[in-house]
Symmetry: C2
Subunit: 203 residues, 2 copies
DNA sequence: TATTACTGACTAACAAGTCAGCAATATCGC
DNA sequence: GCGATATTGCTGACTTGTTAGTCAGTAATA
């Protein structure tokens, strides 16, 4: 009777599997309320093994945030940077799509974690700022400059803060995080914002 | 030798003092990381006394949120509802002031607590929604209707979501919660938003 | 003298982090 | 190939530290 082995050794895959499990757990319960034991069970391993790959709970937390940031956000930003559309087409196309996607994506979970745990992990906040926020804002700023050079936007566009584009996205995200079930027409919010911005910027 | 008494009995004031101390502690460390012992020390009492007035940590938490909500937000909303200015004056005056105040007010702390602890306290979220959000949005909606009746806004103003006004305020708030030290010209953000909205709404 | 707001030491429970031993695989000798 | 042996990924019971919540006793007021 060929016994099923109790476990398989999978040194290579464990870190990623643990990080994925931890992300799920943190997303559901937050950092403080998540037990390492939970994470381990989700990953189908014992608690002890978690500590072989991540020395502390905090280290695991940071790995999770960076993991999500790198794997998911990166693609979105690159997508925004490489485009040959006119400014208006770009805003109503890829940019709008991007904004619609974010509030329901893992990025929202990371934001929640940063809001609640950020103050105790300043280096993580710094990392997030440099790798996501600064790059994202930079991309939009570059886009505005290109629009002015092409004569699609008036000069004053250069003074606009990129944040102005993202405000309704932010509100939608927070709304979903707090009032999960209360409806909100977020698409309309974002579209209206972009309409107003186009009117405001057009040459 | 008339000894200073070790403590005074102040049944009436304790609950409020404890709630105030708890608010400070939660603001600094979040709900999970705050020890009841901390709260008690801040309030200048023993840990045991806290439990005389609040049966559990959770009950104290809810009391704190409701306390802040009732004491501070209420005044702001009423302020917005009673005004005899023209719509534009109102937007550029009281409404803008309100928006500028919120991100640095205790409301921001409550938002942080709701984002991180909300999912585990649905009744608290519901309470906040009804007493703050619904009323706030209602006030803005009423204001838009009045503007249309007076002929200051075009008919389509009625379709605008009140959230559109608040989006930059929300972004500013979250920005401050996460990136405390990174600068952001939030006044400009809000003013630009109101400019654009006025252009968009004007008859 | 009676009442009760208040103290602070205590308990109970839970969760992070450790580690001795086990069992799955890699390696070696034949 | 194949069994013996070495290596190490992995387990799970254990220790340790922390904190929510209790309660017998004390001292301030009525």
């Amino acid at each position: 009777m060929p016994q099923q082995p109790k476990y398989q050794r999978r040194k290579e895959d464990r870190p990623q599997e643990i990080a994925d499990a931890a992300f799920e757990a943190f997303a559901e319960n937050g950092y403080a309320a998540t037990r390492i034991d939970d994470v381990a069970r989700r990953a189908g391993i014992s608690k002890g093994l978690t500590y072989l790959y991540y020395k502390t709970k905090e280290e695991l937390f940071k790995a999770v945030v960076k993991n999500v940031v790198i794997r998911r956000v990166d693609a979105l930003i690159v997508d925004v940077e490489t485009s040959a559309l006119s400014s208006e087409e770009f805003i109503r196309g890829p940019l709008l799509d991007f904004m619609k996607k974010v509030p329901g994506s893992p990025v929202a979970i990371v934001i929640r974690l940063l809001i609640s745990e950020g103050p105790r992990h300043p280096d993580l906040v710094e990392y997030y700022y440099e790798n996501v926020v600064a790059r994202g804002l930079g991309a939009i700023r570059g886009f505005l400059e290109r629009g002015v050079e092409r004569g699609e936007f008036r000069r004053e566009a250069l003074e606009l803060q990129p944040h102005q584009f993202l405000a309704p996205m932010m509100l939608s995200m927070i709304w979903r995080l707090i009032f999960t079930d209360k409806p909100l027409d977020t698409d309309n919010l974002m579209e209206t914002q972009l309409d107003m911005l186009l009117t405001h910027l057009r040459a």
